[in-house]
């Protein structure tokens, strides 16, 4: 794991004032204390120039702190040999920085080669990594970087960083230089990779959406490397610790939260259901008893056919499909709440039918249920996370939340 212990970075020297006191303009990073648990992706997010990249670069000592320490698995990074330190940490940057004069295969094998691996081992490892990031080794290993597209280059960059299987990875806007479609794909693939590899990752981005998507934990930075809030994405969205965080997250944080939850997280409403061919009388009773005033007509396989208003249900006789009105949109349990509500908005309905893989009805999701769920997620004051005395404490993660993230 990686720990920042009162880390500070100043670029200018202190100035002695006339009254004897020394002053200094605030540094790029001021007294940063943060713990990144092992095996998690911790995203450092914030506006340009807030010190997130500077903080990242202090971990592999591309920038040396002027104060404080950075502990890697309990050992002060400053006490380690800098070359050995850097070779043990995976490093991915936005422009990738592949060596133009070396083949892709050689690029990937950079660090192992520096450590003296044999040619065979290098080649095997290089091929293995290329496959891991979705590139066919036979096709790519002898190509040069200038023959690859931006997305392909990014993948190679990630493969290269993984070469010696480092426990820690530093990623500085790694997906920033590609178009949104490619970026989305790369993000998804990387998350899948992380599920397998469980590395400790520090990830810098200025894009709050990326932070929410990628992070197990998110640290929101403001100018001067000050962490305004450190918590899970859900926590940041539901309970921004300050107005800065609320603004940075965006006025649409409600919608962003919806993207984090799925239909499966909801309590579904069970409607009155009638099967085709069944006797109408019993169905009618059920429909009248139910809150909606509608009966959901399904077929033998429990697939929805339509709604019948209770008044239109005949007193007796088999239920006829012709009575049913066209069906509202249906969603499955994996659909995000955001997409589901979007569909409902499109169709101009209040409720959506939830079906399983076979298409059978599971229940109904309603807008009210969604709002209820959102409200349950929020606790405390609108902006601040408070301690026992009610004093807001930004930057300190709630222990229970960290556990929850893990």
């Amino acid at each position: 794991m990686v720990e920042f212990d009162h880390v500070t970075k100043h670029y200018d020297a202190p100035v002695k004032r006339k009254d004897g006191k020394t002053t200094r303009t605030p540094g790029a990073v001021n007294d940063l204390s943060l713990t990144v648990p092992a095996g998690k992706i911790c995203v450092l997010v914030g506006p340009s120039g807030c010190g997130k990249t500077t903080s990242l670069k202090m971990v592999n000592r591309l920038i040396e702190p002027t104060g404080g320490r950075i502990l890697i698995d309990g050992v002060d990074a400053a006490s380690r040999d800098v070359t050995e330190l850097r070779r043990s940490i995976g490093y991915v940057i936005q422009q990738v920085g592949l060596f133009p004069h070396q083949t892709i295969g050689d690029n990937v094998a950079t660090v192992p080669r520096l450590q003296g691996w044999s040619k065979d081992r290098l080649r095997a490892r290089s091929d293995e990594l290329l496959s891991l990031v979705g590139l066919d080794p036979a096709k790519y290993r002898d190509r040069f970087p200038n023959q690859l597209s931006g997305g392909e280059r990014q993948r190679v960059g990630v493969a290269r960083a993984l070469a010696i299987d480092p426990p820690i990875m530093l990623m500085d806007e790694p997906f920033g230089a590609v178009d949104p479609i490619v970026r989305d794909r790369l993000q998804n693939e990387f998350l899948r990779l992380q599920e397998e590899l469980a590395k400790t990752i520090l990830f810098v981005t200025h894009d709050i959406d990326e932070a929410i998507k990628m992070g197990d934990l998110v640290a929101v930075f403001r100018d001067g490397g000050v962490v305004e809030q450190f918590g899970t994405p859900a926590e940041i969205l539901a309970n921004p610790a300050s107005e800065f965080v609320a603004r940075f997250v965006g006025a649409d944080r409600g919608l962003k939260r919806l993207a984090l939850s799925r239909v499966s997280d909801l309590d579904l409403v069970q409607p009155a259901i009638g099967v085709v061919g069944e006797d109408a009388a019993g169905a009618r009773e059920r429909a009248q008893a139910a809150p909606f005033g509608y009966l959901l007509l399904v077929d033998a396989a429990r697939r929805p056919l339509g709604w019948i208003p209770e008044g239109a249900i005949p007193a007796s006789g088999p239920l006829d499909p012709a009575l049913a009105n066209p069906v509202s949109p249906s969603v499955n349990k994996r659909t995000t709440l955001k997409d589901a509500l979007s569909m409902m908005l499109d169709a101009d309905v209040q409720a959506s039918i939830v079906v399983d893989r076979t298409g059978a009805v599971q229940g109904i999701m309603t807008v009210e249920r969604v709002i209820e769920m959102m409200r349950e997620g929020e606790h405390g004051q609108p902006f601040a996370v408070v301690d026992d005395e009610g004093v807001p404490i930004p930057g300190v993660p709630d222990e229970s939340l960290v556990a929850e993230a893990g």
Partner: protein, 222 residues
């Protein structure tokens, strides 16, 4: 010279060993300054990369040396070194400096910043970075400089012969042809020096292709 045929091929054929001897002298006279110049300028360029403030003065001095007309430079050294090889080699070397220092420095400057950052971040030491990343990537521009320097030096070496016959080389033919009103010698000297320059140019381009496979591998995306 009126009435003389411009080129007497019989003479050339019967004096082939002279021609070859002068050719070899000329090659020697051209290569030594370029090699020396390259080593010096490489050192200067690396220094300039480490200490950017050095670059300005280095270029200024090289520039001044370059501005001095070749024959004057040779003439300036004669009273000091006499008509020895040094008198020819020193100015020829300093002429290459301006071209080579600028191209070498540009070569290093052309290495993309992200490549350097990635190399540093991944744990290359300074030396390794210079040797494995910066130098190889600087090669294209450095070779362009060498090309220019070689061609220029071959040309300037012809002038050395004006000062006397101790340097030899193809310029010698030109001077003798002039003094004895024998056009054949003039043309063998002139044509061969141009041919030599073209040959050198061609060979260096070929060498560059060999050394930079990544630059030629442009064709189409995978």
């Amino acid at each position: 010279m009126e009435g003389q045929p411009l080129v007497d091929f019989d003479w050339i054929l019967s004096h082939l060993d002279d021609v070859v001897e002068r050719l070899v002298q000329h090659v020697q006279l051209s290569i030594i300054p370029v090699v020396l110049g390259f080593l010096i300028s490489l050192f200067l360029a690396i220094w300039a990369v480490r200490q950017p403030r050095v670059y300005g003065p280095v270029v200024a001095i090289s520039g001044i040396l370059y501005t001095i007309p070749s024959i004057a430079a040779f003439a300036l050294l004669i009273p000091i070194f006499g008509l020895t090889l040094i008198t020819a080699v020193v100015p020829l070397t300093t002429y290459t400096l301006l071209i080579l220092v600028r191209n070498n420095a540009s070569g290093f400057a052309a290495v993309p910043a992200d490549v350097l950052e990635a190399a540093e971040g991944m744990g290359y030491t300074r030396w390794e970075r210079m040797r494995r990343i910066e130098l190889p990537l600087a090669v294209p521009l450095m070779i362009a400089g060498i090309r220019l320097a070689v061609v220029t030096t071959i040309g300037l070496a012809t002038v050395a012969a004006i000062l006397g016959d101790s340097f030899g080389g193809l310029g010698q033919f030109i001077t003798e042809g002039l003094q004895t009103f024998f056009p054949t010698k003039i043309y063998i000297g002139a044509v061969l020096s141009v041919a030599l320059a073209f040959l050198a140019d061609f060979l260096i381009i070929k060498a560059e292709r060999r050394l930079t496979p990544w630059a030629t591998a442009r064709a189409g995306r995978v």
